[in-house]
């Protein structure tokens, strides 16, 4: 199916995006260092972007790419603020580990 034509089936791109997304999800769940967890979130966002672009190509509608444009803007803003939070947290303690905040324990 995938190698049938000269151009790759657009679904191949979708699959790549899906795999990247799951890699990012797994990394988010398994790593404890918050900076690395943030990077995994970036991976997931990129996978979503890739999906959008692929679909824009499949359906011939440029508006998919417009969405990606906005997603990138928002992702950038989010990184900025998130890292700002991490920096301010780090001020009061030396370690930056995710399981330190367990005040929600029931």
């Amino acid at each position: 199916m995938l190698f049938a034509t000269t151009a790759p089936n657009p679904k191949a791109y979708l699959i790549v995006a899906a795999v990247l997304f799951c890699i990012g999800a797994g990394g988010l769940l398994m790593r404890r260092n918050v900076i690395v967890m943030f990077m995994c979130v970036e991976l997931m966002l990129n996978a979503a972007n890739l999906t959008f672009v692929t679909l824009a190509r499949i359906m011939g509608d440029i508006r998919g790419q417009a969405v990606v444009f906005f997603t990138m803007v928002v992702a950038a803003a989010e990184v900025v603020v998130g890292l700002g939070i991490i920096v301010s947290i780090f001020r009061s303690r030396r370690a930056v580990s995710a399981e330190d905040a367990s005040l929600l324990k029931g």
Partner: protein, 657 residues
């Protein structure tokens, strides 16, 4: 005039409401006069209705006057309506007549009591309930009155509720009545089931047309009789009536001699058409219960010392006579005796009250004597009652008792088993009745004076310090009796007159002289006595002889011999009324307590508490375990979110497959 029949119960109800709201402010004695006026007004109205009914012919003497619809549910259609017929108006007449006299009497008797107006409030409520009972045209309204008189009886018996014995007596009366009420209700259910209606006319029409199966009619009749036994103190539900003497004497006179206890008799007479379609054994049962009760109570009365208790057991005994008559199909005889009994028993109760009042609350006959010198009016009127109940001709009691004995003698012909035995039982009872009543009269009014110091103990009514004439006699020396005020003596005189001439209502010589029987025929049916005139005469002689023998024996022992010589005539067994109360207490109290204990500890304590507490424990358990999902670690939560997302994907995948 008949249309205004609703005014008859309305007046006492008005009196009740008025006194309930303003009684305390109105105070003594105006409250009493208001209550008396209301009852008196009812009596006058009743007279009017009576004459109106009299002016009509036989067949038209049954009028239903409807007031309003009351309950309309499915097949049940109960109206507040009055059935005005001879039986009803007769009952109304003597209830209101004697009621008025007793109200007047009570003004004198309850003088100085702290809750004077409250007493009359209850009395008027009672009259209202009793009138509802007898005027109702359906069983439900009658039951309302039935319960009403029961409630008023409770209120009035325990009027001096500060006394433990009075409060208990009120409770006992109510609870014992309840057993009977259960029977009445079941009877009503059976009748409704068979007839689809609860009006008298509706049920009896169905009964006459054969709409009830024999079993249903028998069951209903027996259940109704159970109700009557409760209200009219027959075996085995009589135990409340002697205790009910704890109430003030006007209460005993009105409720427990003349009116409430006759409600059962009234019920049985009303339901005669139903009894006719039941198995004949019902009549036998009624007759035997009545006869045995009469004898049983008479034997107990022989050994009592309290002046009111003697009269109480006498009432139970005379009621037994009435049921005996009903059992023999002789409803007119029962009604006749009911009326004459109301006259002489109320008279004697009021006389006893006068004696108690004059003796400053002494009630033991052994401590009285020779009161005819001190209280002449009371004495003469009491004589009339005594001779009437003893069956001495030509007073009223003779005629009515004789009618009943005659019906017992002839009862065999109607299918009542052992009728002649019951006749002998009736004669024995008559003998005993004459004996114990004479004993009472001789001990109270004749002989030596055996007064003690005034009694200020136990069973004294709550007199405020208003009895001025008696105050001088309290401190030292024996009691000096005094005659009672006019409010108390006038009713005595009126009742004495009625007791003497009341027999004229229903003389057995010719048909035209049997006025009561003829008058009541549309309501209760006829009963033709088949004996010849000479048989009747002989029977009458025998009955009178029994009465005279009783009087003579009493005179011999109690007038001519010193009291201590007569101990053998008052065996302890009779004094404590065969120990029936103790027996009931043992059976019911112990088992009831055990059952209540069982329910409280096992059912409530273990089962229900267990379920309730168990629910709590279960919630705690589940919650405690569910809490473990809240680890507090954000990464765990993130994992769960991811897992949820994957689950949704799985769902989507399954959908597309």
């Amino acid at each position: 005039m008949i249309d205004l029949v609703w005014l008859i119960p309305a007046l006492p109800l008005l009196g009740f409401s008025l006194l309930l709201l303003t009684g305390k402010r109105i105070g003594e004695p105006v409250a009493g006069y208001i209550a008396t006026a209301m009852t008196g007004g009812s009596f006058l109205l009743a007279l009017g209705v009576f004459f109106d009914l009299l002016s009509r012919d036989g067949e038209e003497r049954q009028v239903t006057v409807k007031l309003f619809d009351w309950l309309k549910v499915g097949q049940l259609d109960v109206k507040v309506a009055a059935l005005v017929d001879p039986l009803a108006i007769t009952m109304v007449l003597f209830v209101t007549g004697i009621g008025t006299l007793i109200h007047l009497y009570a003004i004198g008797y309850m003088h100085g009591d702290a809750r004077f107006s409250r007493f009359f409030t209850y009395l008027n409520l009672f009259i209202f309930s009793m009138l509802c009972l007898v005027l109702a045209d359906n069983f439900v309204l009658m039951f309302l009155g039935w319960e009403g008189v029961g409630a008023c009886s409770y209120l009035l018996i325990s009027f001096w509720f500060e006394k433990e014995s009075a409060a208990s007596a009120g409770k006992k009366a109510f609870v014992t009545n309840r057993v009977g009420d259960f029977g009445l209700m079941v009877g009503m259910f059976i009748m409704f089931n068979g007839a689809g209606s609860l009006t008298y006319l509706g049920v009896f029409k169905v009964a006459d047309a054969g709409g009830f199966t024999r079993n249903a009619a028998t069951a209903a009749a027996l259940m109704l009789f159970l109700g009557a036994c409760g209200k009219s103190a027959q075996l085995p539900l009589y135990v409340w009536l002697p205790d009910a003497m704890e109430g003030p004497t006007p209460v005993s006179a009105l409720i427990h001699a003349a009116t409430m206890v006759t409600a059962g008799v009234y019920l049985m007479m009303r339901c005669f058409p139903l009894l006719l379609v039941a198995d004949p054994i019902v009549f036998t049962i009624i007759a035997w219960v009545g006869g045995l009760t009469a004898l049983f109570a008479a034997t107990i009365a022989v050994a009592q010392d309290d002046i009111k208790k003697i009269l109480a057991y006498s009432t139970i005994s005379q009621l037994g006579y009435m049921f005996l008559a009903i059992g023999m199909h002789a409803n007119a005889a029962a009604a006749f005796h009911m009326i004459t009994h109301a006259f002489f028993k109320a008279l004697m109760f009021l006389g006893a009250g006068s004696v108690i009042h004059g003796m400053h609350d002494e009630q033991d006959v052994k401590r009285m004597g020779n009161l005819r010198k001190w209280m002449p009016i009371t004495f003469f009127t009491y004589l009339a009652g005594w001779l009437a109940i003893a069956g001495v001709p030509p007073l009223s009691g003779f005629w009515s008792k004789d009618e009943i004995l005659l019906s017992a003698y002839e009862g065999g012909g109607l299918g009542v088993t052992g009728a002649k035995v019951l006749w002998v039982v009736g004669l024995l009872t008559a003998l005993l009745t004459a004996y114990y009543m004479s004993r009472q009269v001789f001990l109270v009014f004749f002989g030596k004076e055996r007064f003690l110091h005034s009694v200020g103990s136990g069973f004294a009514p709550m007199h405020a310090e208003a009895d001025t004439a008696a105050d001088e006699h309290h401190a030292n020396g024996p009691v000096t009796p005094h005659e009672s005020p006019w409010q108390m003596t006038v009713p005595l005189i009126v009742l004495a007159g009625l007791a003497v001439v009341g027999g004229a209502m229903n003389l057995p010589f010719t048909k035209s002289l049997e006025r009561l029987a003829v008058w009541l025929e549309p309501s209760v049916g006829t009963h033709e006595f088949v004996s010849s005139g000479s048989t009747k005469f002989v029977l009458a002689i025998i009955a009178t002889a029994c009465g005279l023998v009783g009087i003579f024996v009493a005179r011999m022992f109690w007038l001519q011999r010193p009291l201590d010589a007569n101990l053998a005539l008052e065996p302890a067994l009779l004094k404590r009324a065969y120990g029936v109360d103790a027996l009931y207490s043992n059976i019911f109290e112990k088992s009831g307590y055990a059952l209540a204990n069982l329910v409280a500890t096992v059912f409530d304590g273990k089962l229900i508490e267990g379920v309730v507490n168990g629910t709590g424990s279960l919630v705690k358990l589940v919650g405690g375990n569910a809490r473990k999902a809240q680890t507090g670690f954000v990464r765990n939560y993130a994992l769960v979110i991811a897992a949820g997302a994957v689950a949704l994907l799985t769902y989507a995948l399954v959908r597309t497959l």
